[in-house]
Symmetry: C2
Subunit: 392 residues, 2 copies
DNA sequence: ATCATTTGCGAAATCGTTTTCGATAGATAC
DNA sequence: GTATCTATCGAAAACGATTTCGCAAATGAT
């Protein structure tokens, strides 16, 4: 055994091995009851090697350069009144010189605010939701907030996983639009109980008690249906989404109200729930066309299915709008492209996103701001797919 | 003056006022040279009020509950081999019981990795870029990375500001697609020098030395042009974006190559740069129609302008494709809706996003992974807007 | 000149983790 | 029965900011 002296009592006789810890031989001095490991110069070098290991300049670097304390630097850069103008300019100039950028992580850790919003949204490859996100992003970034997004792909599983991923203290608030599949909301309720501000938009569930941003579901449906009626239609088929969706329910409600107003009999056979797939749309339209009294109009709750309907009717050589009027809901860009152009209700997706973001930001900034539900006003857009000579 | 006793020497005579600090009267004992402020019970209560002020359970909470140290808890939850199976299960069960979720901020602060990617993208209300983002988001979230986005709105100013906002240690890497306006890239180079992994996609600049993900700009343009030539077109107008854009240059190059291959003379009057606005597209088309030998085809670098072109031609009662063929580039959904349906080159936007994300993630995970440029293969889609009887 | 106040700055705690280095008790080897 | 290992765990230093409390010097008042 090589001669090893105890760093404390300087003796060597009393030193004996004491196991190996992390590949290093340890020793033990019986005399002074002291355990130790032999290091070369590592102890010194380690301290010196990382003045600022990240490469970024920190408050400490500035403090050293200027010759003040870290607290002073922090206050100077935040324009705290306690700091004299002289030191402020000195610190700020050095800060600029060293290209100082505050570490947002550290700031957030102590501030307990990340200036980041989370968005859970069904998808992005669709203009419809992408536009909402666009609105959200604009308002947020203008307020100095980042936006992190998650697509649920209309799958409940993915949605739940996303919520988890977002929620580890990384966001100050959540904007939530649930997937088509989602019908239970425990994953959201948990976060709500944690005290994270949440706002729902477009597709909402009243089961979760948050402020909501709606479009004019019922009123819009009324306007569209009334318009179709005014165009002379009496057998109006309505293409709804899955029945558990609130937007399905409310728009159906509007459809009913309009029919009732004009004393047109309700026919359950004219109400169809689809999953927005081409196949389901086609089969619903087929059914309607083969009724004893076939449809003379189709009102689709989504522009996408409305466009599919027009394309299908054209393929069947059924004239739109002469034989069958078609109207959609949402006002997507494709409605302007299809021929005939699509009559629809502009729900103003971008505005929905903006309003939602504003609502959430208000809640975040003003803790006790009253946050009422918001309904974004839309308007009917009449185009060729429903314009026809009135049968009066 | 009310009688105030020095908390140290218990005397009252020697105490005198010593200024007001933060709204509180301070005192000074001449005898024991001690400054002090009178607090009520605040000192005690403050300590007790925040065992875990955030409301979230922390490692410390678990440590206390189990009766071990914080380090042990951390290691147990990370499955460190040093911890015995017994304590692991104990800790994990308590952790679950207390609904522990690690604070990602604190983790990132010490780990120096946020598991977050930044995206700078021209816009989102367009299917084109939104689909790319969708691809990016999918790949990222599958790899356990969050995505934070910024729209530049094709404004250079906004882009620069966005980069700043993203970069404060909050992201592990950046996916970058520059705005239409951008022609200087200092804001990106700075970040590159800081050592942040960056990948450019779609619109790229070789001035910034990063791996890039391209679509088949040149080859795609060749395919489209050759197709138009094969359809009998000899006067093919090409609608480009701003001239400084690489995609403009490379697609023009492809256009030239195809024309040369078929020995068709190049006419500079047939080359137009537009800003993708309706007005600029219309005026270019107008010019072409009034040439001595007018165009018999329009090849637009973007589907959007191609659709605008078709609509405009239809309005002018010029037959597509009989009089003028139209082809686009990109394959947006609207191309399937317009009548006649649009011939275009599918650049596979979603795949571009995915490939870019994968490239970046590889760089992040494998520090020294070789990162070559990637070109995403696309393919020509021939539709009615260019299908006509060949003039041979 | 004496006392009170204001001004300007520093020390240290804190946020919630990870990680390094140490330490001890029981197991094992000689 | 020692002398060494090994298996487990703890203390404390990071990470980079903010913030509370404290104090000294300059300033003002009497």
């Amino acid at each position: 055994m090589p001669r090893v002296v105890c760093p404390r009592c300087e003796k060597a006789e009393t030193v004996q091995k004491s196991g190996i810890v992390r590949k290093k031989q340890r020793f033990y001095c019986k005399d002074c009851n002291y355990h130790f490991t032999i290091y070369h110069e590592s102890i010194k070098s380690r301290k010196k090697q990382k003045p600022n290991s990240g490469g970024q300049t920190s408050l400490l670097d500035i403090a050293k350069a200027v010759g003040v304390s870290v607290s002073t630097v922090s206050r100077a850069l935040n324009n705290h009144p306690d700091i004299s103008e002289k030191t402020k300019v000195a610190i700020k100039s050095i800060a600029k010189e060293l290209a100082y950028e505050p570490n947002a992580l550290a700031q957030s850790l102590v501030t307990r605010s990340t200036h980041t919003l989370g968005v859970i949204i069904p998808n992005l490859h669709t203009t419809f939701f992408a536009t909402m996100l666009s609105g959200i992003q604009h308002v947020s970034s203008q307020a100095g907030y980042r936006v992190v997004i998650c697509q649920s792909d209309d799958l409940h599983q993915t949605e739940v996983a996303n919520v988890q991923a977002l929620m580890n203290n990384m966001i100050d608030g959540l904007l939530f639009c649930h997937s088509l599949e989602t019908s239970t909301f425990d994953h959201i309720k948990i976060q709500l109980r944690r005290g994270i501000p949440i706002v729902q938009f477009y597709r909402v569930s009243l089961e979760v008690e948050t402020p909501c941003v709606f479009c004019e579901d019922e009123n819009g449906a009324i306007q569209v249906t009334e318009h179709l009626i005014e165009m002379g239609c009496r057998r109006i088929g309505i293409l709804l989404g899955p029945p558990h969706l609130m937007i399905s329910k409310k728009r159906l409600e509007g459809y009913y109200k309009a029919l009732n107003k004009f004393k047109i009999p309700l026919d359950p056979k004219l109400v169809a729930n689809v999953d927005f797939s081409t196949k389901s749309v086609h089969s619903s339209v087929d059914n309607w066309l083969h009724l004893d009294v076939p449809v003379d109009a189709v009102f689709s709750i989504s522009d996408k299915s409305a466009v599919q309907t027009i394309q299908y009717l054209k393929k069947l050589h059924i004239k739109v709008p002469d034989t069958v009027c078609v109207a959609g809901f949402g006002n997507e860009y494709t409605g302007e492209i299809i021929e005939p152009q699509l009559t629809t209700f502009d729900v103003r997706t971008g505005l929905i996103g903006e309003k939602t973001a504003k609502l959430l930001l208000n809640r975040i900034i003003d803790q006790n701001s009253t946050s009422e539900n918001v309904t974004v006003k839309g308007h009917l857009i009449v185009r060729d797919s429903s314009k026809r000579v009135q049968h009066l």
